[in-house]
Amino acid sequence: MTHPELTLTERRPFQTRRRDTWWVQPLAVFTGLGIFILYATFRVFEGAHFLHGPYLSPFYSPLLFGPKEVAHSLEHSWFGAMPDWMPALITPAVLILWAPLGFRFTCYYYRGAYYKAFWADPPSCSVSEPRNNYRGEHSFPLIIQNIHRYFLYVALIIVCILAYDVWKALWFDDGNGGTTFGIGLGTLILAGNVVFLGGYTFGCHSLRHLVGGTVGLLSKAPVRRQAYNCVSCLNRRHMLWAWMSLCWVGFSDLYVRIVATTGFEDWITF
Protein backbone atom coordinates (compact mmCIF):
# COMPACT_ATOMS: atom_id res chain seq x y z
CA MET A 1 0.00 0.00 0.00
CA THR A 2 1.39 3.39 -0.90
CA HIS A 3 0.66 6.74 0.70
CA PRO A 4 1.30 9.77 -1.47
CA GLU A 5 1.71 12.53 1.06
CA LEU A 6 3.48 15.83 1.27
CA THR A 7 6.89 15.60 -0.28
CA LEU A 8 9.76 16.07 2.12
CA THR A 9 10.28 19.69 1.24
CA GLU A 10 6.64 20.77 1.13
CA ARG A 11 5.37 22.12 4.43
CA ARG A 12 2.12 23.13 5.98
CA PRO A 13 2.00 25.18 9.19
CA PHE A 14 2.16 22.91 12.23
CA GLN A 15 2.71 19.86 10.04
CA THR A 16 4.64 17.06 11.70
CA ARG A 17 4.78 13.32 11.79
CA ARG A 18 5.40 13.35 15.50
CA ARG A 19 2.82 11.28 17.34
CA ASP A 20 3.59 12.41 20.86
CA THR A 21 1.86 15.33 22.55
CA TRP A 22 4.41 17.86 21.31
CA TRP A 23 1.99 20.74 21.90
CA VAL A 24 1.76 20.23 25.67
CA GLN A 25 5.01 21.97 26.56
CA PRO A 26 4.51 25.11 24.42
CA LEU A 27 0.92 25.31 25.64
CA ALA A 28 2.05 25.07 29.27
CA VAL A 29 4.62 27.83 28.69
CA PHE A 30 2.01 29.96 26.92
CA THR A 31 -0.45 29.51 29.77
CA GLY A 32 2.12 30.01 32.55
CA LEU A 33 3.67 33.12 31.07
CA GLY A 34 0.26 34.41 29.95
CA ILE A 35 -1.15 34.20 33.49
CA PHE A 36 1.94 35.89 34.91
CA ILE A 37 1.81 38.72 32.37
CA LEU A 38 -1.88 39.37 33.05
CA TYR A 39 -1.45 39.28 36.82
CA ALA A 40 1.69 41.43 36.76
CA THR A 41 0.03 44.01 34.51
CA PHE A 42 -2.93 44.24 36.85
CA ARG A 43 -0.71 44.60 39.92
CA VAL A 44 1.67 47.09 38.37
CA PHE A 45 -1.11 49.47 37.45
CA GLU A 46 -3.14 48.89 40.58
CA GLY A 47 -0.61 51.02 42.47
CA ALA A 48 -1.93 49.97 45.90
CA HIS A 49 -1.89 47.12 48.46
CA PHE A 50 1.83 46.52 48.03
CA LEU A 51 2.77 47.28 51.59
CA HIS A 52 1.75 45.88 54.93
CA GLY A 53 3.71 46.45 58.11
CA PRO A 54 7.30 45.59 57.27
CA TYR A 55 6.35 43.62 54.15
CA LEU A 56 6.97 45.22 50.78
CA SER A 57 5.85 43.41 47.64
CA PRO A 58 8.78 42.48 45.38
CA PHE A 59 6.88 44.04 42.44
CA TYR A 60 7.31 47.40 44.18
CA SER A 61 10.82 47.06 45.50
CA PRO A 62 12.86 49.22 45.52
CA LEU A 63 10.16 51.76 46.33
CA LEU A 64 11.64 54.90 44.83
CA PHE A 65 8.70 57.16 45.63
CA GLY A 66 5.88 56.43 48.03
CA PRO A 67 2.36 57.33 46.88
CA LYS A 68 0.78 59.62 49.49
CA GLU A 69 -2.45 57.65 49.53
CA VAL A 70 -0.70 54.42 50.59
CA ALA A 71 -0.26 54.38 54.38
CA HIS A 72 3.37 54.14 55.62
CA SER A 73 4.72 54.15 52.07
CA LEU A 74 6.95 57.12 52.91
CA GLU A 75 8.76 55.05 55.54
CA HIS A 76 9.78 52.58 52.88
CA SER A 77 10.45 54.97 50.02
CA TRP A 78 13.96 55.94 49.01
CA PHE A 79 13.28 59.45 47.74
CA GLY A 80 10.18 60.55 49.61
CA ALA A 81 6.72 61.10 48.22
CA MET A 82 5.69 60.51 44.63
CA PRO A 83 6.00 63.88 42.84
CA ASP A 84 2.62 65.49 42.06
CA TRP A 85 3.47 65.92 38.40
CA MET A 86 3.86 62.19 37.93
CA PRO A 87 0.96 60.85 35.78
CA ALA A 88 -1.32 58.45 37.65
CA LEU A 89 -0.34 55.65 35.29
CA ILE A 90 3.22 55.81 36.54
CA THR A 91 2.95 53.76 39.71
CA PRO A 92 6.05 52.96 41.79
CA ALA A 93 6.11 49.54 40.12
CA VAL A 94 6.24 51.05 36.63
CA LEU A 95 9.38 52.91 37.66
CA ILE A 96 11.29 49.74 38.50
CA LEU A 97 9.61 46.68 37.06
CA TRP A 98 11.11 47.20 33.60
CA ALA A 99 14.36 45.85 35.03
CA PRO A 100 13.29 42.40 36.26
CA LEU A 101 10.87 42.03 33.36
CA GLY A 102 13.57 43.00 30.86
CA PHE A 103 15.91 40.55 32.56
CA ARG A 104 13.42 37.74 32.10
CA PHE A 105 12.39 38.80 28.62
CA THR A 106 15.99 38.67 27.39
CA CYS A 107 16.95 35.55 29.39
CA TYR A 108 18.28 32.78 27.16
CA TYR A 109 15.91 30.23 28.64
CA TYR A 110 12.79 32.35 28.31
CA ARG A 111 13.73 33.43 24.81
CA GLY A 112 13.85 29.84 23.59
CA ALA A 113 10.63 29.07 25.44
CA TYR A 114 8.52 31.99 24.24
CA TYR A 115 9.82 31.86 20.67
CA LYS A 116 8.16 28.46 20.61
CA ALA A 117 5.08 29.17 22.69
CA PHE A 118 4.17 32.68 21.50
CA TRP A 119 5.80 32.91 18.04
CA ALA A 120 5.67 29.26 16.92
CA ASP A 121 9.23 29.72 15.75
CA PRO A 122 9.19 26.65 15.69
CA PRO A 123 6.00 25.51 17.48
CA SER A 124 8.00 22.52 18.72
CA CYS A 125 10.96 20.50 17.50
CA SER A 126 10.39 19.11 13.99
CA VAL A 127 6.99 20.78 13.72
CA SER A 128 6.56 23.14 10.76
CA GLU A 129 6.25 26.87 11.20
CA PRO A 130 3.45 29.14 10.07
CA ARG A 131 5.80 31.56 8.24
CA ASN A 132 8.47 31.44 5.60
CA ASN A 133 10.87 34.23 6.33
CA TYR A 134 13.09 34.17 9.35
CA ARG A 135 15.71 36.47 10.74
CA GLY A 136 16.13 35.07 14.22
CA GLU A 137 18.42 37.12 16.42
CA HIS A 138 20.69 37.83 13.49
CA SER A 139 19.32 41.29 12.77
CA PHE A 140 16.94 43.95 14.06
CA PRO A 141 14.74 43.72 16.14
CA LEU A 142 15.74 40.57 17.99
CA ILE A 143 19.44 41.35 17.84
CA ILE A 144 18.60 43.64 20.78
CA GLN A 145 18.32 40.51 22.95
CA ASN A 146 22.09 40.78 23.25
CA ILE A 147 21.48 43.48 25.85
CA HIS A 148 20.77 40.71 28.40
CA ARG A 149 24.00 41.18 30.37
CA TYR A 150 23.05 44.77 31.19
CA PHE A 151 19.77 43.61 32.68
CA LEU A 152 21.80 41.08 34.63
CA TYR A 153 23.83 43.85 36.26
CA VAL A 154 20.62 45.55 37.42
CA ALA A 155 19.10 42.22 38.51
CA LEU A 156 22.10 41.50 40.73
CA ILE A 157 21.50 44.79 42.53
CA ILE A 158 17.79 44.01 42.84
CA VAL A 159 18.50 40.65 44.49
CA CYS A 160 20.54 42.52 47.12
CA ILE A 161 17.71 45.01 47.65
CA LEU A 162 15.19 42.18 48.04
CA ALA A 163 17.48 40.53 50.58
CA TYR A 164 17.50 43.82 52.51
CA ASP A 165 13.68 43.79 52.34
CA VAL A 166 13.73 40.42 54.09
CA TRP A 167 15.87 41.92 56.84
CA LYS A 168 13.35 44.74 57.20
CA ALA A 169 10.53 42.17 57.23
CA LEU A 170 11.97 40.88 60.53
CA TRP A 171 11.17 44.07 62.44
CA PHE A 172 7.56 44.61 63.38
CA ASP A 173 5.85 47.56 65.00
CA ASP A 174 5.79 47.00 68.79
CA GLY A 175 2.87 49.37 69.29
CA ASN A 176 4.98 51.87 71.27
CA GLY A 177 6.55 53.61 68.34
CA GLY A 178 9.45 51.18 68.20
CA THR A 179 10.11 47.86 66.51
CA THR A 180 10.47 44.32 67.75
CA PHE A 181 12.08 41.31 66.17
CA GLY A 182 9.68 38.80 64.72
CA ILE A 183 9.18 36.27 62.00
CA GLY A 184 5.98 36.10 60.06
CA LEU A 185 4.78 33.89 57.25
CA GLY A 186 5.38 36.92 55.04
CA THR A 187 9.01 37.08 56.17
CA LEU A 188 9.49 33.46 55.15
CA ILE A 189 7.73 34.00 51.83
CA LEU A 190 9.89 37.04 51.04
CA ALA A 191 13.00 35.07 52.07
CA GLY A 192 11.95 32.22 49.76
CA ASN A 193 11.63 34.78 47.00
CA VAL A 194 15.24 35.85 47.48
CA VAL A 195 16.40 32.23 47.43
CA PHE A 196 14.56 31.43 44.19
CA LEU A 197 15.44 34.70 42.54
CA GLY A 198 19.04 34.26 43.62
CA GLY A 199 19.13 30.73 42.19
CA TYR A 200 17.77 32.08 38.92
CA THR A 201 19.98 35.17 38.71
CA PHE A 202 23.19 33.47 39.84
CA GLY A 203 22.64 30.72 37.25
CA CYS A 204 22.40 33.20 34.37
CA HIS A 205 24.30 32.29 31.21
CA SER A 206 25.71 35.80 30.95
CA LEU A 207 26.97 35.62 34.54
CA ARG A 208 28.57 32.27 33.79
CA HIS A 209 30.36 33.88 30.88
CA LEU A 210 31.28 36.92 32.93
CA VAL A 211 32.85 35.01 35.81
CA GLY A 212 34.76 32.41 33.88
CA GLY A 213 33.63 32.05 30.29
CA THR A 214 36.62 33.78 28.78
CA VAL A 215 39.30 32.65 31.17
CA GLY A 216 41.43 30.38 29.02
CA LEU A 217 43.08 28.68 31.95
CA LEU A 218 40.70 28.31 34.88
CA SER A 219 43.32 26.17 36.61
CA LYS A 220 45.38 29.32 37.07
CA ALA A 221 42.48 31.40 38.43
CA PRO A 222 41.17 29.50 41.47
CA VAL A 223 38.65 32.12 42.61
CA ARG A 224 37.10 32.46 39.18
CA ARG A 225 37.14 28.70 38.75
CA GLN A 226 35.15 28.34 41.93
CA ALA A 227 32.70 31.04 40.84
CA TYR A 228 32.41 29.49 37.39
CA ASN A 229 31.68 26.07 38.88
CA CYS A 230 29.04 27.53 41.20
CA VAL A 231 27.29 29.43 38.43
CA SER A 232 27.51 26.40 36.11
CA CYS A 233 25.95 24.27 38.81
CA LEU A 234 22.92 26.58 39.10
CA ASN A 235 22.89 27.05 35.34
CA ARG A 236 22.28 23.35 34.72
CA ARG A 237 18.82 23.80 36.26
CA HIS A 238 18.22 27.29 34.93
CA MET A 239 14.79 26.43 33.54
CA LEU A 240 13.66 25.10 36.88
CA TRP A 241 14.95 28.16 38.74
CA ALA A 242 13.30 30.39 36.14
CA TRP A 243 9.88 28.89 36.76
CA MET A 244 10.20 28.55 40.52
CA SER A 245 11.29 32.16 40.88
CA LEU A 246 8.57 33.40 38.52
CA CYS A 247 5.84 31.59 40.44
CA TRP A 248 7.24 32.59 43.81
CA VAL A 249 7.62 36.27 43.02
CA GLY A 250 3.99 36.34 41.88
CA PHE A 251 2.93 34.47 44.99
CA SER A 252 4.93 36.82 47.26
CA ASP A 253 3.17 39.80 45.74
CA LEU A 254 -0.19 38.08 46.08
CA TYR A 255 0.55 37.31 49.73
CA VAL A 256 1.41 40.93 50.48
CA ARG A 257 -1.75 41.99 48.70
CA ILE A 258 -3.82 39.57 50.78
CA VAL A 259 -2.42 40.77 54.10
CA ALA A 260 -2.64 44.41 52.98
CA THR A 261 -6.29 44.13 52.01
CA THR A 262 -7.38 42.00 54.97
CA GLY A 263 -5.13 43.49 57.68
CA PHE A 264 -4.29 39.95 58.73
CA GLU A 265 -1.37 39.82 61.20
CA ASP A 266 0.73 36.74 60.56
CA TRP A 267 3.75 37.33 62.73
CA ILE A 268 5.20 35.91 65.87
CA THR A 269 7.62 37.99 67.93
CA PHE A 270 10.43 36.69 70.08
Binding site: M1, T2, H3, P4, E5, T7, L8, T9, R11, T16, R17, R18, R19, D20, Y108, R111, G112, Y115, K116, D121, P122, C125, S126, S128, E129, N132, N133, Y134, R135, G136, E137, H138, S139, L142, I143, N146, R149, H205, S206, R208, H209, G213, T214, G216, L217, L218, S219, R225, N235, R236, H238
Partner: protein
Amino acid sequence: MAKATFRIWRGDANAAQFVDYETEVAEGMVVLDAIHRIQADQANDMAVRWNCKAGKCGSCSAEVNGNPKLMCMARLNDLPLDEPVTVEPMRAFPLIKDLVTDVSWNFKVKEKMKPFAPRPPDAEDGTWRMEQEDIDHIQEFRKCIECFLCQDVCHVLREHDLHEEFIGPRFFVYAASLEMHPIDTENRLEELKDSDGIGYCNITKCCTKVCPEHITITDNAIIPLKERVVDEFYDPIKKLFRVFS
Protein backbone atom coordinates in the same frame (compact mmCIF):
# COMPACT_ATOMS: atom_id res chain seq x y z
CA MET B 1 5.98 -13.59 16.40
CA ALA B 2 4.30 -10.18 16.51
CA LYS B 3 3.91 -8.13 13.37
CA ALA B 4 4.30 -4.40 12.87
CA THR B 5 3.84 -2.06 9.96
CA PHE B 6 6.59 0.29 8.84
CA ARG B 7 5.64 3.22 6.66
CA ILE B 8 8.85 3.93 4.79
CA TRP B 9 9.70 6.81 2.50
CA ARG B 10 10.58 5.36 -0.90
CA GLY B 11 11.82 7.19 -3.97
CA ASP B 12 14.27 9.87 -5.00
CA ALA B 13 14.28 13.63 -5.35
CA ASN B 14 11.94 13.47 -8.37
CA ALA B 15 9.21 11.23 -7.03
CA ALA B 16 8.75 9.64 -3.65
CA GLN B 17 6.02 8.42 -1.38
CA PHE B 18 5.41 6.38 1.74
CA VAL B 19 5.08 2.64 1.26
CA ASP B 20 3.76 0.32 3.98
CA TYR B 21 5.60 -2.90 4.81
CA GLU B 22 4.47 -5.40 7.35
CA THR B 23 7.16 -7.45 9.01
CA GLU B 24 7.77 -9.65 12.02
CA VAL B 25 9.27 -8.02 15.07
CA ALA B 26 10.84 -9.55 18.14
CA GLU B 27 11.96 -8.50 21.58
CA GLY B 28 15.06 -6.31 21.57
CA MET B 29 14.81 -5.21 17.94
CA VAL B 30 15.63 -1.68 16.85
CA VAL B 31 14.22 0.20 13.85
CA LEU B 32 17.32 -0.57 11.78
CA ASP B 33 16.79 -4.30 12.34
CA ALA B 34 13.25 -4.02 11.01
CA ILE B 35 14.45 -2.01 8.01
CA HIS B 36 17.07 -4.68 7.29
CA ARG B 37 14.48 -7.42 7.51
CA ILE B 38 12.19 -5.55 5.12
CA GLN B 39 15.12 -4.94 2.81
CA ALA B 40 16.01 -8.64 2.82
CA ASP B 41 12.47 -10.00 2.44
CA GLN B 42 10.42 -7.44 0.56
CA ALA B 43 12.40 -4.50 -0.80
CA ASN B 44 15.88 -5.51 -1.96
CA ASP B 45 16.36 -2.16 -3.70
CA MET B 46 15.70 -0.03 -0.59
CA ALA B 47 18.57 2.33 0.14
CA VAL B 48 19.63 2.73 3.76
CA ARG B 49 22.95 3.91 5.14
CA TRP B 50 24.40 2.22 8.21
CA ASN B 51 27.66 0.94 9.51
CA CYS B 52 28.27 0.19 13.18
CA LYS B 53 24.83 -0.71 14.56
CA ALA B 54 26.12 0.62 17.86
CA GLY B 55 25.26 4.32 17.76
CA LYS B 56 28.84 5.32 17.13
CA CYS B 57 29.31 5.92 13.40
CA GLY B 58 26.46 8.39 12.88
CA SER B 59 25.41 6.86 9.54
CA CYS B 60 21.88 5.65 10.18
CA SER B 61 20.23 9.01 10.96
CA ALA B 62 16.59 9.20 9.96
CA GLU B 63 13.23 10.39 11.26
CA VAL B 64 11.23 7.81 13.16
CA ASN B 65 7.64 8.84 13.84
CA GLY B 66 8.73 12.38 13.06
CA ASN B 67 11.62 12.43 15.54
CA PRO B 68 15.21 12.62 14.29
CA LYS B 69 16.95 9.49 15.59
CA LEU B 70 19.68 6.98 14.96
CA MET B 71 17.77 3.97 13.60
CA CYS B 72 20.17 1.58 15.29
CA MET B 73 19.42 3.10 18.69
CA ALA B 74 15.63 3.44 18.27
CA ARG B 75 14.21 0.49 20.14
CA LEU B 76 10.90 -0.89 18.94
CA ASN B 77 9.56 -1.35 22.45
CA ASP B 78 9.70 2.43 22.89
CA LEU B 79 7.37 2.90 19.91
CA PRO B 80 3.62 2.30 19.63
CA LEU B 81 3.48 -0.70 17.29
CA ASP B 82 -0.31 -0.80 17.03
CA GLU B 83 -0.04 1.85 14.32
CA PRO B 84 2.43 2.18 11.43
CA VAL B 85 5.90 3.41 12.37
CA THR B 86 6.95 6.10 9.90
CA VAL B 87 10.57 6.05 8.82
CA GLU B 88 11.78 8.82 6.54
CA PRO B 89 15.07 10.43 5.60
CA MET B 90 16.41 13.58 7.23
CA ARG B 91 14.62 16.63 5.91
CA ALA B 92 17.37 19.20 6.09
CA PHE B 93 19.44 17.59 3.32
CA PRO B 94 18.73 16.66 -0.31
CA LEU B 95 17.34 13.19 -0.81
CA ILE B 96 19.43 10.71 -2.81
CA LYS B 97 17.22 7.66 -2.51
CA ASP B 98 14.80 6.23 0.05
CA LEU B 99 16.35 6.78 3.48
CA VAL B 100 19.66 8.13 2.23
CA THR B 101 20.36 11.84 2.03
CA ASP B 102 23.30 13.79 0.70
CA VAL B 103 25.02 15.24 3.76
CA SER B 104 28.08 16.51 1.89
CA TRP B 105 27.09 20.13 2.62
CA ASN B 106 28.27 19.52 6.17
CA PHE B 107 31.75 18.57 5.07
CA LYS B 108 31.99 21.67 2.90
CA VAL B 109 31.00 23.81 5.88
CA LYS B 110 33.73 22.22 7.98
CA GLU B 111 36.35 22.82 5.30
CA LYS B 112 35.61 26.54 5.37
CA MET B 113 36.08 26.86 9.13
CA LYS B 114 39.34 28.10 10.61
CA PRO B 115 41.21 24.99 11.80
CA PHE B 116 42.86 24.32 15.14
CA ALA B 117 45.83 26.66 15.57
CA PRO B 118 47.90 25.55 18.57
CA ARG B 119 50.51 27.79 20.16
CA PRO B 120 54.13 26.69 19.67
CA PRO B 121 54.89 23.44 21.53
CA ASP B 122 55.76 23.75 25.21
CA ALA B 123 58.41 21.07 25.20
CA GLU B 124 61.30 20.33 22.92
CA ASP B 125 59.78 17.06 21.82
CA GLY B 126 56.96 19.03 20.17
CA THR B 127 54.32 18.37 22.83
CA TRP B 128 52.16 20.66 24.97
CA ARG B 129 51.37 20.80 28.66
CA MET B 130 47.78 21.30 29.76
CA GLU B 131 45.85 20.97 32.99
CA GLN B 132 43.11 18.38 32.83
CA GLU B 133 40.54 20.80 34.22
CA ASP B 134 41.23 23.32 31.45
CA ILE B 135 40.36 20.74 28.85
CA ASP B 136 37.50 19.12 30.77
CA HIS B 137 34.75 21.45 29.60
CA ILE B 138 35.42 20.83 25.90
CA GLN B 139 35.62 17.08 26.35
CA GLU B 140 31.90 16.61 25.71
CA PHE B 141 32.19 18.34 22.32
CA ARG B 142 34.62 15.68 21.21
CA LYS B 143 31.97 13.00 21.60
CA CYS B 144 30.26 14.20 18.41
CA ILE B 145 29.76 11.35 15.93
CA GLU B 146 28.66 13.65 13.09
CA CYS B 147 25.27 12.04 12.74
CA PHE B 148 23.88 15.48 11.77
CA LEU B 149 20.62 14.86 13.59
CA CYS B 150 21.06 18.24 15.25
CA GLN B 151 21.44 19.86 11.83
CA ASP B 152 18.31 18.03 10.68
CA VAL B 153 16.12 19.17 13.55
CA CYS B 154 17.35 22.77 13.58
CA HIS B 155 14.54 24.86 12.14
CA VAL B 156 16.98 27.34 10.63
CA LEU B 157 18.11 24.63 8.21
CA ARG B 158 15.09 22.36 8.18
CA GLU B 159 12.42 25.00 7.75
CA HIS B 160 14.20 28.04 6.42
CA ASP B 161 16.90 26.45 4.27
CA LEU B 162 19.48 28.99 5.41
CA HIS B 163 22.33 26.63 4.56
CA GLU B 164 24.28 29.42 2.92
CA GLU B 165 24.14 31.71 5.95
CA PHE B 166 24.12 29.35 8.93
CA ILE B 167 26.52 26.53 9.77
CA GLY B 168 24.16 24.75 12.18
CA PRO B 169 24.57 23.35 15.69
CA ARG B 170 27.07 20.62 14.78
CA PHE B 171 29.55 23.24 13.68
CA PHE B 172 28.94 25.52 16.64
CA VAL B 173 29.96 22.53 18.72
CA TYR B 174 33.06 22.20 16.57
CA ALA B 175 33.80 25.93 16.78
CA ALA B 176 33.33 25.84 20.56
CA SER B 177 35.73 22.91 20.90
CA LEU B 178 38.38 24.97 19.12
CA GLU B 179 37.61 28.40 20.59
CA MET B 180 37.65 27.05 24.15
CA HIS B 181 40.71 24.89 23.64
CA PRO B 182 43.42 25.98 26.08
CA ILE B 183 46.22 25.97 23.47
CA ASP B 184 44.31 27.31 20.47
CA THR B 185 45.32 30.80 19.35
CA GLU B 186 42.82 31.52 16.57
CA ASN B 187 39.95 34.02 16.79
CA ARG B 188 36.76 32.89 15.04
CA LEU B 189 34.31 35.46 16.40
CA GLU B 190 33.90 37.54 13.27
CA GLU B 191 33.06 34.46 11.20
CA LEU B 192 30.71 33.20 13.90
CA LYS B 193 28.81 36.48 13.76
CA ASP B 194 28.80 36.95 9.99
CA SER B 195 29.27 33.96 7.71
CA ASP B 196 28.43 31.32 10.34
CA GLY B 197 25.24 33.14 11.32
CA ILE B 198 25.17 32.33 15.04
CA GLY B 199 22.51 35.02 15.46
CA TYR B 200 20.03 32.86 13.54
CA CYS B 201 20.01 30.38 16.39
CA ASN B 202 17.08 31.26 18.62
CA ILE B 203 18.17 28.89 21.39
CA THR B 204 15.11 26.68 21.15
CA LYS B 205 17.30 23.69 22.11
CA CYS B 206 15.92 21.14 19.65
CA CYS B 207 19.51 20.24 18.72
CA THR B 208 20.34 19.43 22.35
CA LYS B 209 17.25 17.24 22.63
CA VAL B 210 18.08 15.03 19.65
CA CYS B 211 21.83 14.63 20.15
CA PRO B 212 22.47 10.89 20.66
CA GLU B 213 25.73 11.72 22.42
CA HIS B 214 23.90 13.98 24.89
CA ILE B 215 26.13 16.95 24.13
CA THR B 216 24.71 20.06 25.80
CA ILE B 217 24.89 21.86 22.48
CA THR B 218 22.85 24.98 23.24
CA ASP B 219 23.89 25.70 26.82
CA ASN B 220 27.55 24.74 26.66
CA ALA B 221 28.52 25.51 23.07
CA ILE B 222 26.15 27.95 21.39
CA ILE B 223 25.29 30.30 24.26
CA PRO B 224 28.94 30.71 25.39
CA LEU B 225 29.86 31.48 21.77
CA LYS B 226 27.00 33.97 21.53
CA GLU B 227 28.32 35.64 24.69
CA ARG B 228 31.80 35.87 23.17
CA VAL B 229 30.31 37.46 20.06
CA VAL B 230 28.46 39.97 22.28
CA ASP B 231 31.77 40.80 24.03
CA GLU B 232 33.43 41.49 20.74
CA PHE B 233 30.71 43.27 18.77
CA TYR B 234 27.66 44.32 20.77
CA ASP B 235 28.82 45.40 24.22
CA PRO B 236 29.60 49.14 24.16
CA ILE B 237 31.25 49.13 27.60
CA LYS B 238 33.58 46.28 26.64
CA LYS B 239 34.42 48.17 23.44
CA LEU B 240 35.24 51.27 25.45
CA PHE B 241 37.50 49.25 27.72
CA ARG B 242 39.34 47.95 24.70
CA VAL B 243 39.89 51.45 23.36
CA PHE B 244 41.50 52.56 26.63
CA SER B 245 43.41 49.41 27.44
